[in-house]
């Protein structure tokens, strides 16, 4: 077993774990060998290649122990809030209350991947009328019905309006099956009309002030529900403190992304970066611990960058990745064919932007919620993707489609067109179901093609007197 940074299999992690322990590895309460999660049904780990650092071990253990953490919180009498179709707003509010723990039931969409066939969630979803024409988020319905994956929350919220049809349809089904939901409106973010008072949102989009006010009002309803459920007031002071803690997570993620995505040698694999970014949404149900996990990961990346150590070859093609993958294995696949992720937009870039701390907290939260890339025009989102891809020096863009998702079919075409127009980069769209084993040859071929095309462009650009074709 080497000490240098690399991606290793679960078998190799067994050895690595003992090695780290023998060197005095100190772990949190949820620590332990990754192998134990396979015994719990997380079979996908057997097919993944994971980073070999102690920081990555902690990250994986943190992610895979969330169910235990929720049950423990429930047993301790903490109030559980399930925030559906909400990538980062209600959890920030909920975590501002000391006795409340928030989580995203939509996160169940990874269960069919992580647990492969051992989970009953999809079968339950099928049995209740939500079949495979829906996006994998349908696993959420099965999770509610089986109660195998999280304790039932006492308060369930769902944003609707300019949101995806899959979640709003499935959430309605969940409500009809007996789980009351607090629906709150998320209006379509439109450009301000000439002369209309407008507000600059975190991340750079702008919106009419009237829409921000509307969202603020809606979040006010959520606030009242949280107060009622928690049995204590959610004051502005508490919200401000909660926002500051959320920003502590976001600042770490921003630095982690900056270092990992801009380093010449890739210091952290795409898979761990994806999992780390997901922490921004609901802190994996423990905000304080999420900060610790990110600190350790950031230290590891800083050390590797300083030592000029990478997990991938130096010439790996820099790829900007759009949308989260239903099968984590695909992030390995990109790296296996010579690529590396140098930037990402996993549907929640707004949850990575700092929440303004110089505004009244509800105003700041409303602005952040409206900055969601999915609630505006897909052209806005494509613009941000193009800007970020340029900033991180991407050589190619992969748009990962989510099967059955209401937004993907048309959105992918718009993003591809705009990225090509503005950056002239090669773009490929792939569709990633929860388990890609049967499709792996096809996916591999498509990813190989874009990597090879990028290498070809790189070579052409290096030859003097030749058009590199990198910009149109």
């Amino acid at each position: 077993m080497t000490n240098s940074a690399c991606r290793i299999t679960l078998d190799e992690w067994d050895v690595r774990y003992e090695e780290l322990r023998s060197r005095g590895l100190r772990e949190p309460s949820y620590g332990g060998p990754l192998r134990r999660h396979v015994a719990d049904g997380d079979l996908r780990l057997l097919k993944l290649r994971m980073d070999n650092s102690a920081a990555a071990l902690r990250l994986w253990n943190f992610l895979l122990s969330e169910e235990d953490r929720l049950r423990e919180a429930h047993a301790q009498g903490k109030r559980l809030v399930g925030a559906m179709k909400d990538l980062g707003t209600v959890p920030v509010m909920a975590c501002s209350l000391p006795n409340v723990v928030a989580f995203c039931p939509d996160g169940a969409w990874w269960i069919p991947c992580v647990m492969e066939t051992t989970s009953r969630v999809l079968a339950q979803s099928d049995a209740h009328g939500i079949g495979e024409s829906f996006c994998p988020v349908r696993a959420m319905l099965g999770a509610f019905l089986t109660e195998d994956h999280f304790p039932l929350p006492g308060l369930l919220t769902c944003s609707v309006g300019a949101t995806c049809d899959d979640v709003r349809a499935i959430a309605q089904r969940i409500q009809r099956l007996g789980f009351p939901i607090l629906w709150w409106e998320m209006p379509h973010r439109r450009p301000p009309e000439p002369g209309e008072p407008a507000v600059r949102l975190p991340g750079g989009f702008s919106a009419p002030a009237s829409l921000v006010a509307m969202v603020r009002q809606e979040l006010g309803r959520v606030r009242e529900a949280l107060e009622h459920y928690a049995g204590e007031p959610l004051s502005d002071a508490r919200l401000s403190e909660g926002i500051a803690r959320a920003n502590a997570v976001r600042r770490r993620l921003a630095e982690l992304r900056r270092m990992a995505y801009s380093a010449r040698l890739c210091p952290m694999p795409a898979l761990e970066m994806l999992v780390a970014e997901m922490l921004a949404i609901h802190f994996c149900s423990d905000q304080a611990e999420a900060i610790e996990v990110l600190d350790e990961l950031l230290e590891e990346v800083q050390r590797r960058v300083a030592d000029r150590v990478g997990v991938l070859p130096a010439d790996a093609v820099r790829v900007f990745w759009v949308n989260p993958v239903a099968d984590l294995r695909v992030m390995n696949l990109l790296e296996d064919v010579g690529g590396r992720v140098c930037g990402s937009e996993y549907l929640f870039c707004h949850a990575l932007d700092p929440v303004p701390e110089d505004l009244p907290p509800m105003e700041a939260l409303a602005r952040m919620a409206l900055a969601d890339p999915m609630v505006g025009s897909p052209a806005d989102r494509a613009g941000r993707i193009a800007g970020d891809a340029r900033q991180f020096g991407a050589e190619a863009v992969v748009i990962s489609q989510i099967p059955g998702a209401s937004h993907c079919a048309m959105e992918g075409a718009i993003i591809e067109e705009i990225v090509r127009e503005r950056l002239g980069l090669p773009v490929v769209q792939i569709e990633v179901p929860p388990i890609t084993d049967a499709l792996e040859p096809t996916l591999r071929t498509r990813l190989e093609a874009i990597v090879e095309a990028s290498v070809g462009r790189r070579a052409a650009a290096a030859r003097p007197g030749r058009l590199d074709g990198s910009r149109r």
């Binding site: 609707v160 309006g161 049809d165 349809a169 897909p378 209401s406």
Partner: protein, 418 residues
Amino acid sequence: MKCVAYVSPMVPPEWITAHGLAPSWQQLRTVRRDRDGGTVRGVCPYAAAVLATATAESGAAALVLTTTCDQMRYAAAMVERGRSLPVFLMHVPATWQTSAARQLYRDELLRLGRFLVQIGGAVPGAETLARVARRYEAVRRQVVERRAVLGAREFALAVAEVRGFIDEGGTNVRAAITPARNISIPTRIASEGPSLALRVSIGRLSCRNNKSGNESPRSKVRSPACSETAQTPSAGIPLALLGGPLLADDHGILDTIESLGGRIVLDATESGERTLPGPLDEARLAQDPLDALVDAYFGSIPDVFRRPNTAMYDWLGRELPSRGVRGIVFRRYLWCDLWHAELQSLREASPVPVLDLDAAGDEQSSANRTLARLEAFLEMLSGASSLGKRPSSIRREDDGAAGGCRDDACLLRFDHRP
């Protein structure tokens, strides 16, 4: 007069008319791979039809779409990118419980008004709006009153007519509610001048004149078989048709049902009577006509996109028994999550059997499959009538335990799956 195309029943045509423009409710044509270049996987056939026709040469000055479904929201972005037609995307709140949602809908109507002025409309006075709104309501009432004497197709087309431009006398719509078996409308409509140019256009996003002037849209889509086989409206097994909007080509299903011994007594599709606005409050109309429109549309139309969508179930709970409905034909488009997800809830709540028909657009086998399923459904209902079961009220989610169904509903269950 410029015309403004739209496809959502949440857009009040009165509002467009009051701006001096002509609303044109679109009855779109199914996109076919061989003819139109194919559809994209994951795009519902209705959204595909909007995309296919909005990018073609069009006589419309603009297209109005709404956010009531995600696909339409993305379709608006596609049309906007194509720049073939000015497009206005109106946010229709999914929630309805709060004054904020209602206010947002009203604000969106005002924003639509500003857009209409930009494309050549005029700001309407309150009196003008009230007058137009009364005219529309009067014609809608006439259409609904004639429901019993119209065939399903005639009624569907008449409902479509009241979503279009209605001239001062309502003459262009009055023709549409004449029973099909004694109509001779083409020449009469042709002589009525400008209104013809603004009629509902079938099969294309267009407001162009019917150049020949001798064929009504209705006569174009009415199949020969239909006129020969359709029953009198009072005969046949009473059914409800529930689901998303019908495409122009889909009206054949109404004829098919009638020819098989059924009768649509409740057109609860998105393009049908379910989404007609509620009655206007005369006092409010006199005081604030826009507010009256907000109530009639946002405050009254029960639809699947609303959260929660209990109002739709309440409406079905009232209408199914009052019309004596004995079966529901549930028609949903492939990739339409909102309706698809509702199927099982409907089955659990419905006091009468539910037949699921998925519409895949240009799938060659779909017509035969639909026919076979409808035949089986109606045969089953014919047999079930001898059981003497009577429809009862629909269940709401708060009626009791989740899932399952009452015994009487289960006895009549027709759990028809592919």
